[in-house]
Amino acid sequence: NDKSFLNVSPTGALDDSQLNTPDNIEKQVIAAYSQLGNDIYYVPYTSMWPYGNVRGGDAYKGGGGTADVDAFHFYETFTFNRVDISNTDEFWYRMYLSISRANDALRRLDAIDVAAMPNKAVRQGEMRFLRGHFYFLLKEMFKYVPYIDETIPTDQYPTISNVALTNDALWSKVADDFRFAVANLPATQSEIGRANKSAAQAYLAKTVLYQAYTQNATNAVTGIDATKMAEVNSLCDAVISSGKYALHSDFATNFLTSGDNGVESVFAIQFSRNDGTPKGRTDRGNELNYPMNPDYGCCSFHQPSQNLINAFKTDANGLPRFTDFNTSGDLVTAGDFLSTTVDPRVDHTVAVVGHPFKYNPTFVFDNSWVRVPGVYGYNLSMKESVLPTDPSFQKTPPFMSSSKNWAIIRYADVLLWKAEALIELNRSSEALPLMNQIRQRAQNSTGLLKSASGAPTSNYKIGLYPAAGFSQSYAREALRFERRMEFAMEGCRFFDLVRWGIAAPYMNTYFAKEKNLRQYLSTANFTAGRDEYMPIPINQINFSKGLYKQNNGW
């Protein structure tokens, strides 16, 4: 009869209810994890480079000119950023897409009987960890976002405003996910890619650290919550005392495939290739960020700023030149790096003409490897790239990619968050050894920084901070500088600046000098009270029929 004739079952598909078995719930957990790395170069949320580095004065957009992915140019210069830039809207959507995968798994986990799935709480912890991660990214980008968890029915979504929760309450929501994860995750996981208790403690520390700097309606930092800082300190202590993590002896290991899941990796995105999937599950968010030479081919995005390079200069004691690093001449040629002492981390971070690229003395970075030096200068970023001979290297024509993991949290972060908390708690002397631990490692990280002759590539000199004069204000300045050196080009600089409440003066000072080198920055200007956050995408405001409220100043 017609009813049976017309009953055609979908092929290659399952319906919602079929996914509630323990086996399939495990798979939904995997699907949520896979969203960590499902990136694309024009909305890169794994490395966050356009939002964290380009907006923070550490990097230029790079690429084929200011019009090449011009959304990032407008992010970089602020002046012409708009509410209708589609990349911003897509970032927003991609975050909620990721959150929906975590919520999908959580909805099923919440419903299943623990007898049927003994590891229910662990998996719930993992999913809330992932959801916390994506909300964290949304939060640092947009400040005010609708908060939706797995208990809210889909038909209620249109009723939830982005301003339903205050800034602080939203941070607490993000923190709650990590608190749950801390409470339920085991100390170690047999599968290396899963979040464990320490990862959750670390991410919770990061969240609480951001929350500790209270902001007013115009994004100005109004105070620092000591209780929260104390919590950050103890959370970091928990991670440290777990004994599972340490700094790699060589800074380089963090940026080599061989360092994947090494001792410094607290939580990382597991990329893979030759893995049975069509084109590999590789790092696509960074795929524009390779040199233009024939071994690679494209696209010279994400170029370190001159300001950042100059910041690696050190003084006679091997300490940062806080006041004059950017007024004492620019580090440009290979010769400049020999005539001035520098922090070794510069040659791990920045490709310099005449220096070996990515630790290969016979693979020397050439000025022809840069795309439009007249606009963006002659330097490229190296932390995210791999050598063309590396087993993780994957061409994804016309772009480049790799299966090298990308760290969400590395142990150095935990040490410096703790140091930051201690300094703000006016316990700077306790922060000193942590910061010196970082500097000591940097000092030891010159083994791979050799030219073909075996000579050091640059004139390295990096010293430890002396205890004398390590006042709170000095320590704060040193901490902020240390974070910049340690995590340059790793996607966090701008968010650090906003957290500390110094984004507007810092960026406008940066522009005032940098525009003399890079003319396209002449129109750049940071508007305090507005540019700390992206505008809520106009599409989302329209779709919400005005329920969503635009951020301050937009």
Partner: protein, 1029 residues
């Protein structure tokens, strides 16, 4: 009684002198017409013409001959003592006795009550097009055809009476009774006997759920009773590519780049140009010279050039077609066999297509003609370049002219270097992909049996198939082109089978009551369709050789990958139709169809689609008939009906989760993978499932309700004929995949019955045909149609998803193609204007000024409006034909008036800031500057700070055009000559297509028909030969 009077007439005439006459009846091209009735006026004595169109008869010397044949205007010829005659019959465009296929049955044209357009196959069969539907362009009022120049004809789009839905607007094709929605470019044009377009719902409703966009019925040729004939035809065409946008040469690109950088206050700096300039008197730099180095790259492999990429990628295409058609009609059946080969080398190099089509149609009458069985079958194979050909056009406008086609060794490829965008060399793309051609095999046809159970009662069953096999082996070659390279080759074999069977059963009863005053036909039937699709691919990389004989999968040594998918849907339908006519004056027709589709929610699988229509043949009324001499035919028609649409994803009503290990090409789409290396060891990836869409168990048919009123008329012995129609078409419950709030997340897609659209319009058709005393036959046919389109309803949750300001301005009341954007109000001329104007981020002299529509002093989201409805005022076509003594000429013009379209090419031609590292248009040479303030092209800049790529009236241009689509001149050899060599007919012709265009001065692109970068519509010159024996 008629019989008695015939006898009496004969007896009277027999008193007069009889003479023996002979003659020949030709069509208007001079081809002999078999089976033409030749009768002496006022008698029943007569004969019919033989196979070659000859007749002989003994008649009174003062007799008048009435010469008639179905589909031709009847002629009266006085004998006046002559003994030999040559008579040319003119095709009757409004042949009322013509039989028209209207859906599971045939009707006399005079009895039609719906809006049915009959395409004059004679007019279009000479068109050398690669897709039958291209021949309809401009021919049928209310039918719009848009096409490009792709050699396989695959990209033609047909729209009947506007845009009725938000999804697929393609009509349903019914070929020999078998419905299909897949393209019909595999059809051999020479096989076509007739084409009818069912435009309104009262006509189309019998096809129910799939008829919402109108129906095109195609009937193929069958053997004619008693006729054995072989037709051989061939043509050769030369096609030259249509015009393209004009891009900057090497030197001018440097000059524009320099000036743009200077305007930005930057130092012009591009690796492969040296600029020589000096400080001018006003302190402004002045460019003296642009110096181009000898080589682009340090390795000196790429010598700088001035390559015209359009020229390098284009060629004059040669098109050939060969056709043989053999038909043999016997007393109890006939067989027709045809074979066709078509080859088009393409106006872009290596993009040719070729096609074989074979057809076998046969039918047999058994049991004293009470049982008819037969079959129709087409087998075709289409081979075409399987590559994004539009990309070539795009690349040709993107890659700078300074890049050479080849490196200095003449073998390697030129390509982008630093400072040039990552756009590949289009010549390389064409050359390296030339082996990448797909084969599409298609089997289409049916077998049927038709039994006449009692007189007038026919039981018919038909089983049809439409199955395709698609095979495509792709070799992705290793290459180096500038900084673009790929070291690993890859071979991918794709195979897909798809198609459906369709089983139809109908019972048709024709009867006549009350001495013929009442005629009634009743049709009932059912139909079942089952569609299945299955596809897989397999690929490997690292092939030691790229020789076509080597690249089988086994030869690849790495990265074994494969994938596959499947899909199916089914339809079950019942239908009935009643036609009633009283005294041939009052016509009434009603249909009802009940359709079930597997695509809808279990509770809403079935939809009912009724229709009624009526006609009044005024010309048959006693107060007109024979009283008003110039009215030969006049009929008023009115109809109302509903049709449906089910064209959505097969499983649209269900919530679906799918596994997707990783995305195949995640460079240009988000990666949606569900697999993750949770073990951190690159193997044994686990995978989960992603939600693809949300469920909607209430999903049901989209319904289109259409009302049509019209009139058909024939004046002056049907020399002047025409029709007028007005329609209102309301589509409701339109199936939309709702755009959704970002927070809904993955798989938020949900098909719902959402929007409503209203189309309405007028259609006019007017034709005149006549034969002059000197034998000149001519005809003029013109048509004009309009439609207006507006969205009348949107669900509240998506009201802002179709444009508008998010508050009070929505798409409601505007066309579904309407463009929302800013009003560009010229250019800011000076700093005073800028400071005096509203706050506009990026405003500066020479930049586009946008209108502050809401007057709030700032330019933002709320200063947008509907800037074009993107619907033409009207479409029209004009066909002129004439023949005389074996010569015939045809001229066909087609046009669109009042269309304001988005000219996408302006992104390329008018801005140096919207695409960096890519070539720009020559229009920039006239860009605004303080000394060239009259220009409408904004000042040169490399940075798009004013967001000038935003949708605005800057891009909206008058895209009206009038094109000479066809000019054809033919000659038929005189019959006497042809008969001597035992042939029936020999015809030569030459033809030109698209030879000139009239366009609006405002339109800045080369061709208003091409507002994107698609495959260019070519100019065509053709010579052809047809022979019949």
């Amino acid at each position: 009684t008629p019989l008695a009077s015939a006898f009496s007439t004969r007896s009277n005439n027999s008193l007069l002198a009889d003479i023996k006459i002979s003659g020949r009846v030709n069509d208007d091209k001079g081809v002999g017409l078999p089976g033409v009735t030749v009768v002496v006026k006022g008698t029943s004595s007569g004969t019919s013409t033989d196979v070659e169109g000859n007749f002989s008869l003994t008649v009174p010397d003062n007799a008048t001959l009435i010469i008639s044949s179905v589909g031709f205007v009847t002629q009266q010829v006085p004998v006046a003592g002559r003994t030999t005659f040559t008579v040319a019959l003119v095709t009757d465009s409004q042949a009322l006795s013509e039989v028209v296929v209207t859906g599971y049955q045939t009707q006399k044209r005079a009895d039609l009550t719906g809006a049915v357009a009959v395409v004059k196959v004679d007019e279009v069969k000479g068109m050398t097009s690669n897709n039958v539907v291209n021949n309809l362009q401009g021919r049928v009022p209310g039918v719009q055809v848009t096409t490009d120049g792709s050699p396989s004809g695959a990209n033609a789009a047909v729209r009947i009476r506007g845009f009725g839905t938000l999804g697929n607007n393609d009509p349903l094709y019914v070929i020999d009774g078998i419905p299909t929605k897949t393209g019909i470019n595999q059809l051999n044009q020479n096989d076509i006997e007739s084409i009818q377009v069912l435009k309104d719902a009262s006509a189309a409703s019998i096809y129910g759920s799939r008829a919402g966009n109108g129906v095109i019925i195609i009937t193929t040729r069958k053997a004619k009773k008693g006729v054995t004939r072989v037709d051989v035809s061939s043509f050769v065409s030369a096609q030259t590519p249509g015009p393209h946008i004009k891009m900057l040469n090497t030197n001018d690109y440097g000059r524009i780049y320099w000036q743009a950088a200077i305007n930005d206050g930057a130092t012009p700096n591009i690796p492969f140009y040296n600029f020589q300039s000096h400080q001018g008197p006003n302190g402004q730099p002045v460019l003296d010279n642009v110096v181009v180095p000898e080589f682009l790259d340090a390795a000196k492999t790429q010598r700088t050039a001035d390559t015209d990429w359009f020229k390098e990628t284009q060629q004059t295409a040669i098109v050939q077609q060969y056709n043989v058609n053999v038909s043999n009609g016997g007393e109890h059946g006939g067989v027709l066999f045809s074979l066709n080969y078509y080859k088009n080398s393409g106006t872009l190099k290596f993009t040719g297509a070729d096609r074989w089509t074979g057809r076998l149609n046969s039918d047999y009458s058994l049991l004293g003609d009470h049982l008819k069985i037969g079959q129709n079958l087409t087998v075709s194979k289409l081979q075409e370049a399987q590559y994004d050909l539009n990309l070539i056009r795009d690349r040709s406008s993107q890659l700078l002219n300074i890049v050479p086609v080849h490196t200095v060794d003449g073998v390697g490829w030129g390509g982008p270097v630093n400072g040039i965008g990552d756009r590949d060399n289009p010549v390389r793309l064409l050359t390296d992909n030339q082996q990448n051609r797909s084969d599409l095999y298609r089997l289409f046809g049916n077998g049927f049996a038709d039994a006449e159970i009692i007189k007038g009662l026919h039981l018919r069953t038909s089983f049809g198939i439409d199955y395709s096999l698609y095979k495509y082996n792709e070799l992705y070659k290793t290459f180096t082109a500038g900084y673009l390279s790929n070291a690993n080759n890859r071979v991918t074999n794709n195979e897909s089978t798809f198609g459906n069977w369709v089983w139809q059963n109908t019972l048709n009863y024709d009867l006549s009551l009350g001495g013929g005053d009442h005629t009634l036909s009743v049709l009932v039937g059912n139909e079942r369709i089952s569609y299945n699709q299955e596809a897989f691919y397999a690929s490997r990389t690292n092939f030691a050789s790229q020789d076509p004989n080597y690249i089988v999968l086994d030869a690849g040594s790495a990265n074994k990958d494969n994938g596959g998918s499947a899909n199916s849907y089914r339809l079950a339908s019942y239908f009935a139709k009643v036609n009633y006519a009283y005294k041939d004056r009052y016509l009434l027709s009603g249909t009802v169809r009940r359709d079930g589709s597997s695509r809808f929610g279990a509770d809403n699988q079935f939809g009912i689609f009724p229709a009624v229509s009526g006609g009044w043949r005024l010309s048959e009324e006693s107060f007109l008939k024979d009283k008003v001499a110039f009215i030969s035919d006049l009929k008023l028609r009115a109809g109302w009906g509903q049709t449906g649409n089910q064209d959505i994803a097969s499983y649209a009503s269900r919530a679906i989760y799918q596994s997707s290990l990783g995305t195949l090409d995640p460079n240009f789409a988000y990666d949606i993978g569900t697999a993750y290396d949770i073990y951190g060891n690159d193997t044994n990836l686990l995978s989960g499932y992603r939600r693809v869409q949300q469920a909607n168990p209430n999903l049901k048919w989209e319904t289109t309700t259409q009302t049509n009123i019209g009139a058909d008329f024939g004046f002056l012995g049907n020399k002047l004929t025409g029709s007028v129609d007005y329609f209102i078409k309301n589509s409701t419950d339109i199936l939309v995949n709702l755009p959704y709030l970002g927070v809904v997340g993955e798989g938020g897609d949900k098909f719902v019955n959402g929007a409503s659209i209203r189309n309405s319009g007028w259609e006019f058709l007017l034709g005149y045909q006549n034969t002059l005393a000197n034998g000149l036959t001519f005809n003029v046919t013109g048509n004009l149609s309009t439609y207006r389109n507006k969205l009348t309803y949107l669900p509240d949750e998506v009201i802002n998803a179709y444009g508008g300001n998010g508050q009070d301005v929505t798409r409601l009341g505007h066309s579904i193609n309407a463009i929302y954007g800013y009003v560009a109000d010229g250019l800011y001329q000076n700093a005073t204007e800028v400071s005096g104007g509203p706050t506009q981020v990026g405003a500066a002299p020479g930049r586009i000024r946008y209108k502050d529509l809401n007057g709030d002093g700032k330019i933002d989201n709320f200063d947008q409006t509907w800037i074009s409805e993107a619907i033409p005022d009207f479409n029209y076509g004009l066909n002129l034909g004439a023949s005389w003594k074996g010569f015939d000429v045809q001229v066909f013009l087609q046009g669109v008036q009042g269309l304001y379209a988005n000219n996408n090419a302006k992104f390329r031609t008018d801005f140096a800031s919207l695409a960096s590292g890519e070539n720009w248009g020559q229009r920039l040479l006239d860009a605004w500057s303080p000394t060239n303030t009259g220009s409408s092209v904004p000042s040169l800049t490399l940075v798009n700070s004013n967001n000038e790529g935003r949708a605005s009236t800057y891009f909206i241009e008058n895209a009206s055009y009038l094109k000479l689509r066809n000019f054809q001149l033919g000659y038929n050899l005189p019959t006497a000559l042809v008969s001597k060599i035992r042939l029936q007919n020999v015809r030569f012709y030459v033809q030109g297509q698209n030879f000139f265009t009239i366009k609006s001065k405002q339109f800045t692109g080369p061709d208003p028909e091409v507002t994107n970068y698609q495959y260019p519509v070519p100019r065509v010159f053709t010579a052809g030969l047809n022979v019949s024996f």
